[in-house]
Amino acid sequence: MQGLVPTATDGNMATEFHNLQELRHSASLANKVFIQRDYTEGTTCKFQTKFPSELESRIERTLFEDTVKTLNNYYAEAEKIGGQSYLEGCLACATAYLIFLCMETRYEKVLKKIAKYIQEQNEKIYAPRGLLITDPIERGMRVIEISIYEDRGSSGSSSGSSSVSGSTAR
């Protein structure tokens, strides 16, 4: 399956392997890794930056840590207690919380930014390595679920080599 000998069809697969389209047609779900929450600073949303062993062969440690740290920063921004959140809270109370019917809370705005960031990370970094991040909001903000795909297609591409080497490592 990990054909190191590239054939004609492999060439096509290789060039498109960056693309998530190819990941769809050739990959199957092999494993899921769950990054748990870090509660050491209280109940604010923060994820552990410990690098899971299952991803060692798939992605560079720094890239992974960057992703998690950026996500943690986004959540900290959403939950920040400061001038703007007080203003929002007081205004909402003064209008008997009816203002929430027409206005989006700051938290919701940041969640949209997070969703965009995760999509961008998936497209640029994770999918080419046969990985996919699930937005924590879909898992109750408990875990960052990273799905690991096993490449069944005989892609011998150089950028897909991380998955190839990952497979051979197994």
């Binding site: 054909g3 899921k32 209280g42 939950e79 959140s85 938290y107 991040i133 109750g140 497979s167 197994r170």
Partner: protein, 376 residues
């Protein structure tokens, strides 16, 4: 060609993944045969109305009683006492009463109808992953395993996180499982039958505003009904005053008995907010100094003002249970071991390649790429 045939065969089995939705492998081929919304298959004991927009506990009888009491008392006040008071004293009285009444009603409905902060149950993969970790930690399964807990140090205090057998998650700190609603609720305060819902992270401020404004409203009505009776008795005598305005008697009785409990409750919750504790924690004495000299509340911000501001004016977290979303019947899961794919990381190296029945005939059990290349 050998490879081409195998590819086309495999294509039919695979599901697609799309980055648009963050749940991987959404198949556009398969039509969504059931257009069910997530609230319809919600596992907890909750009632939903208005297409999932309104969420309440199962027992709502007492909530209707609360509503009736408030509406009837205020209705009587505005109908029988306000005209007299507006004429004799000032028309500002019914205006203030009206504003208070609307605020009370608004906060009550907001408390009762919103999601208190329910934590969704674990997906099967998540639950299996946790089970595996617990088994590894526990060692042999020859005896009955001890209760599952995880210890974490928060701001210097050791907190035990308990495993919830119903929801199959380790409860975050301050979360608790409500047995009436059968849900784990984040920052669980208590289950209030008067509002017909749990009080948790997302609706605590509404609950507090409700009891605070209700205290003011009760005292307001009580004070002005008494004033009304007194003013009337100056004119016509006490008994005549009561005969002229019988509704006032009912109002006084209701307000008198409510004021003690509601004002008391408001005071208690003001104390809880200023010390950043939940009712649950206070009752159990989790952060009481009686437990030990070094026992303190790790969640408190230090001063009363910050605690109050954080609880009442802090950011409102979103609902984690997507009530109005559609059920995706084809969310991919890791297949159980009988199908080939296993989730056990330790033995992944060997077993991850035993991926499917059709694969085994082509793929050797050992991940040997050279033999594969050779077979071509």
């Amino acid at each position: 060609m050998h490879l081409g045939v195998s590819e086309s065969m495999r294509e039919c089995e695979y599901s697609q993944i799309s980055t648009r939705s963050s749940t991987p492998m959404e198949t556009p081929y398969k039509k969504k045969t059931s257009k069910k919304r997530k609230w319809e298959i919600f596992p907890g004991r909750n009632k939903f109305y208005c297409g999932g927009r309104i969420m309440m506990a199962k027992q709502t009888g007492v909530f209707y009683l609360t509503l009736v009491l408030i509406l009837v008392t205020c209705g009587l006040f505005f109908t029988f006492d306000c005209p007299f008071l507006a004429l004799q004293l000032t028309p500002v009285i019914p205006v203030i009463g009206g504003v208070l009444f609307l605020f009370v009603l608004g906060t009550l409905l907001r408390t009762s109808f919103s999601d208190p902060g329910v934590l969704p149950r674990a997906t099967p993969d998540e639950a299996a992953d946790l089970e595996r970790q617990i088994d590894v930690a526990n060692g042999s399964t020859g005896y009955r395993p001890p209760p599952r807990t995880k210890e974490v140090v928060i701001n210097g205090q050791t907190v035990k996180l308990k495993y919830c057998f119903t929801c199959k998650i380790f409860r975050p700190p301050r979360a608790s499982h409500c047995s009436l609603c059968d849900n784990c609720v984040d920052r669980f305060d208590h289950h209030c039958p008067w509002v017909g819902n749990c009080v948790g992270k997302r609706n605590y401020r509404f609950f507090y505003m409700f009891i605070l404004s209700l205290s003011f409203l009760t005292i307001f009505i009580f004070a002005f009904v008494i004033t009304h009776i007194i003013l009337r008795s100056h004119r016509n005598g006490f008994l005549n005053a009561l005969k002229d305005s019988p509704a006032s008697v009912l109002e006084v009785v209701v307000c008198f008995f409510s004021v003690w409990s509601i004002v008391g409750l408001s005071g208690f919750h003001t104390y809880l907010i200023s010390s950043n504790q939940t009712t649950n924690e206070d009752i159990k004495g989790s952060w009481s100094s009686k437990r030990g000299k070094d026992n303190y509340n790790p969640y408190s911000h230090g001063n009363i003002f910050t605690n109050c501001c954080a609880a009442l004016c802090g950011p409102l977290p979103p609902s984690l249970i997507d009530r109005r979303g559609f059920v995706q019947s084809d969310t991919p899961q890791l297949a159980p071991p009988t199908n080939g794919i296993t989730m056990y990381g330790a033995t992944q190296s060997q077993q991850s390649h035993m991926v499917s029945d059709t694969e085994t005939e082509r793929l050797p059990p050992h991940p040997s790429s050279s033999s594969r290349a050779a077979s071509q």
